[in-house]
């Protein structure tokens, strides 16, 4: 497993954060991406995408990357903490038992999940990056234009994790891969 280049990506990394910044901690991924855009401003090999939700237009950027980190909020469970789960392998293929990748008809152009977005990369562009879902626990999802303190701290943790993952020779070490199905 590697966090660096596979065929076609030329070592480029993408951080794609999404969520609704007016729904409290749901905006954690969105806010992380805004911070990452500033943080990696001088890193041309790191592209940052920000949005309320993944959109088909992201497929082109993702398909051109070696590795991608999709960042979303997830309801805080008992375990808590920032989680990193694998979505695709080094060749951009989903795990064989990935239910979401097997149901791409969910993809209707209006709302996409990470698996469907990566499937669109494979179909439309012939390749997908090695991809991971980085989830930030959300304590509050009602109307609010800021994060709770625990979610804000988790965003900081996630940024530090990304710093390490985006070091040129660093390999990501996903844990709790099964969490991927509960996210997004």
């Amino acid at each position: 497993m590697t966090g660096r280049a596979t065929a076609g990506g030329a070592g480029r990394a993408v951080v794609a954060g999404y969520g609704n910044p007016l729904r409290g901690d749901d905006g954690a991924g969105y806010r992380l991406a805004l911070a990452a855009r500033e943080r990696y401003r001088d890193r041309p090999e790191v592209a940052v995408l920000v949005g309320h939700q993944p959109v088909p237009e992201w497929a082109e950027v993702l398909a051109g990357a070696a590795v991608a980190y999709l960042v979303d909020a997830t309801p805080a469970g008992a375990a808590g903490g920032v989680r990193l789960a694998r979505l695709t392998d080094g060749a951009g293929a989903p795990p064989p038992d990935d239910r979401r990748a097997a149901s791409p008809s969910l993809l209707d152009g209006h709302a996409l999940g990470p698996a469907a977005l990566l499937a669109l990369c494979r179909e439309a562009y012939g390749r997908a990056p090695e991809a991971f879902l980085l989830t930030i626990p959300a304590a509050r999802l009602d109307f609010a234009d800021r994060l709770t303190a625990p979610a804000a701290a988790a965003v900081d943790d996630a940024l530090h994790l990304l710093d390490r993952l985006l070091e040129p020779a660093r390999a990501p070490e996903p844990e709790h891969t099964a969490e991927a199905d509960a996210c997004a």
Binding site: P56, E57, L107, H110, A116, A124
Partner: protein
């Protein structure tokens, strides 16, 4: 036995709706309705807010066409201020609206409707999606993605973000366009012009496969409303409104948008949250009219740019002999492609204007009028924002007349026409038939998030329909 058929939800549209078909004992369609089932409430909760805030609030009505609301709202604010916005601001607003038309039409055509057009209305529903299309026509998907990206990038370059830019304000715009921004837009144009011409050629070549749909998808005479320039050219911002009939003859040659309420009424029905606007002199529901790409191409005399004018001539050839209007709502798709081509040409032309880069892009004033109407051509059609304010500029009344609402009567008529064409006595109701009914609506690219607004007391009727199709109970308020 009488039956009721529900298509719930209608898919690949913006927002939430359902269709109900009522069949008589012979299995013929007795009635068909397009129900809009979501409610927003912007007109009510914006009361009391300062009108200066409205462009930013109104842009939040929709994630697909925020620019349309932003510009119509800012234009209403201009009128309340009583100012003429600086020329650069006027041109920059035009530039953003053209980019909005490009990105929204790309979404509608490539992402939402191409699965029907390229994979077929009868193809398996699981495959009839953007994903299915990516598997069979990846080049089409890539073209659509690039075209939409281009439009969104222009919006982001001007407004700082792709969605919900708070850039246009009463009196002008917040920021000018920079020379690097202009150059970046210009650099992207050739690829998109080539892409849309390629798509237009493919679409025209494939039209022969859709003769049935062209006849059945809302093909009827009606009125058409759109903005037009002083010489009748295609217009999308700042123009007068022109209403034409099925022969393309002017019924109302130049309506001042400030006086729209003298010409258009708003009705409501107990089974939908969506307004039913109509042309007042013709009454309700006879005053049904259509807006949007099809209407704009039927209303205008010419586009005013060479490639789009050639495409417009070919488009007109699909209409009635003698230069009549193109009547089938199926051709909204065709009209969208022509408009994207023309919008790109107009963007190119705007970029050549050195005044576009002027830093003088906002006029400042206080409240000078207590009422103002802003109108623009949104991708889906004519959009009105109408505000009344007190002396301090607080909104006392808001009315939003949205494109999709203005197509409501036509969409209902279209649903009935499609259903009557394909659902006949004894005919098996196939998935492909249901999809055609949805596609009849999809042709209008309705945006229900934008258009669900109350007229007076909110009507609500709940029906309990038994398995035999008989209404067992009904509760209304």
């Amino acid at each position: 036995m009488a039956r009721r058929i529900l298509i719930d939800p209608v898919t690949r549209i913006e927002g939430h709706a359902k269709v109900s078909l009522h069949l008589d004992d012979a299995g013929e369609v007795a009635e068909a309705r397009f129900h809009v089932t979501e409610f927003r409430g912007f007109e009510a909760f914006c009361e009391g807010r300062p009108f200066w805030e409205m462009p930013g609030i109104a842009a939040r009505i929709c994630g697909i066409c925020p620019v349309s609301h932003l510009l119509a709202s800012a234009a209403a604010g201009d009128h309340i201020l009583g100012v003429a916005v600086p020329p650069a601001a006027e041109q920059l607003r035009r530039l953003m609206n053209l980019a909005q038309i490009v990105q929204s039409h790309a979404l509608s055509f490539f992402h939402l409707s191409s699965p029907d057009l390229l994979l077929g209305f009868d193809s398996p529903p699981a495959a009839r999606s953007l994903f299915g299309l990516a598997a069979t026509h990846p080049d089409v998907i890539r073209r659509g993605i690039r075209l939409r990206q281009f439009g969104q990038e222009v919006i982001a370059l001007l407004g700082g973000r792709r969605i919900h830019p708070g850039w246009a304000v009463p009196g002008g715009v917040r920021e000018p366009l920079t020379p690097p921004g202009r150059d970046r837009i210009r650099a992207g144009l050739p690829e998109q012009l080539e892409a849309i011409q390629h798509t237009l050629r493919d679409f025209r070549d494939g039209l022969g496969r859709f003769e049935g749909e062209i006849r059945a998808f809302g093909s009827f005479p009606s009125l058409f409303l759109a903005m037009a320039g002083p010489d009748g050219e295609w217009e999308h911002y700042g123009g007068r409104l022109r209403l034409v009939d099925a022969r393309r003859e002017a019924v109302e040659p130049a309506i001042d948008p400030q006086r729209y309420r003298e010409y258009f009424g708003e009705a409501s029905e107990p089974w939908s949250y969506l307004k039913f606007p109509y042309y007042l002199p013709a009454g309700y529901p006879e005053g049904s009219y259509r807006v949007g790409p099809l209407a704009r191409l039927n209303v205008c005399r010419r586009f005013g740019t060479p490639l789009a004018d050639a495409a417009l001539a070919a488009f007109r050839a699909t209409g009635a002999p003698g230069g009549g209007a193109v009547l089938s709502s199926f051709h909204y798709h065709y009209a969208r492609l022509v408009e994207v081509l023309g919008a790109l040409e107009r963007i190119e032309r705007l970029l050549d204007d050195p005044a576009l880069l002027s830093a003088r892009c906002r006029a400042h004033a206080d409240v000078n009028r207590l009422e103002g109407v802003g109108a623009s051509e949104a991708p889906r059609g004519t959009l009105f924002h109408h505000y009344r304010v007190d002396e301090q500029g607080r909104l006392t009344w808001v009315n939003l007349l949205i494109a999709t609402g203005q197509n409501n009567l036509a969409m209902n008529r279209t649903v009935a026409q499609v259903a009557r064409h394909y659902v006949r006595g004894g005919t098996e109701l196939t998935e492909g038939v249901l999809n055609r009914i949805e596609a009849g609506i999809r042709a209008y690219d309705p945006c229900l998030s934008c258009s669900t607004h109350a007229v007076g007391q909110m009507p609500l009727v709940v029906q309990l329909v038994g398995p035999d199709g008989v209404v067992r109970d009904e509760v209304g308020r």
